[in-house]
């Protein structure tokens, strides 16, 4: 029998959000991040010293584009959940906390979408 108020349950914030969803999701995206970062580092090294046309061609190639889209998705989810925990740990005044939590979600989604847009634009060659 849960002891949370209905509002608390709906918001899903606070230290016990919803079972182990956050714990698992953070680990899942962490594994994906580690693997994709390895690839990303190799990509960065291969891009060093290239001129713009070379960079554009590599970033626009299908395999690189798909891997980068996966990377953007994974780090976006990971950083949003991570920052959410930081905010909940240190901000306790209700209005401040809610504002920051909303801004956190907006920032994560905006950055993720902006990166995905750029990757798609590069790979569609427009």
């Amino acid at each position: 029998m849960t002891m949370r108020t209905p509002l608390a349950r709906v918001r899903g914030f606070g230290s016990a959000r919803s079972g182990t969803e956050h714990f698992w999701r953070q680990r899942l995206t962490a594994i994906a991040n580690a693997l994709l970062t390895l690839g990303g580092v190799i990509l960065m090294i291969s891009l060093t010293g290239r001129t713009y046309p070379g960079v554009r061609q590599i970033l626009g190639s299908p395999l690189i584009a798909v891997l980068m889209l996966l990377f953007v998705l994974s780090i976006t989810v990971h950083m949003k959940i991570g920052m959410q925990v930081i905010i909940e740990d240190y901000v306790h005044e209700e209005k401040q906390k809610l504002t920051l939590l909303v801004l956190n979600t907006f920032y994560a989604v905006a950055i993720g979408l902006a990166c995905a847009y750029a990757i798609l634009k590069l790979s569609f060659g427009v």
């Binding site: 962490a30 594994i31 090294i45 060093t48 960079v55 970033l59 920052m83 902006a114 750029a118 590069l122």
Partner: protein
Amino acid sequence: MAETKAPAQRPLSPHLQIYRPMLTMMMSIVHRITGAALYFGTMIVAWWLLAAAAGQNAYGVFEGFATSWVGRVLLFGYTWALLHHMLGGIRHFVWDLGYGFGPEEREWLVRANLVGSVTLTVLLWLCFAMFGMR
């Protein structure tokens, strides 16, 4: 209805004032700090990708930033934070699997994390320097 006033100020038991800073403690908060730094550093990644998608001029502006000394410092810091946070994440994963809690093990893990991140960052930037000379 949610509590709208700030919670009453009750005395906290002292923690930072009395615990000797151990390496494991410091690395724990550094893991969080590097995470937060990467959170904001993602803006640089987004800028780079949007500039690449926008065209030669926009990319030139980004390149100007990336090769300036401010840009290089920020990018160096970003790569260190990334590698350090990644190795810290692996450390957490080892703990999740149930290993590495013993007194010597956790000290070793923490040192491996720090030494690893610094070494890998230096190696990475050596690679950048070498490949940049083509």
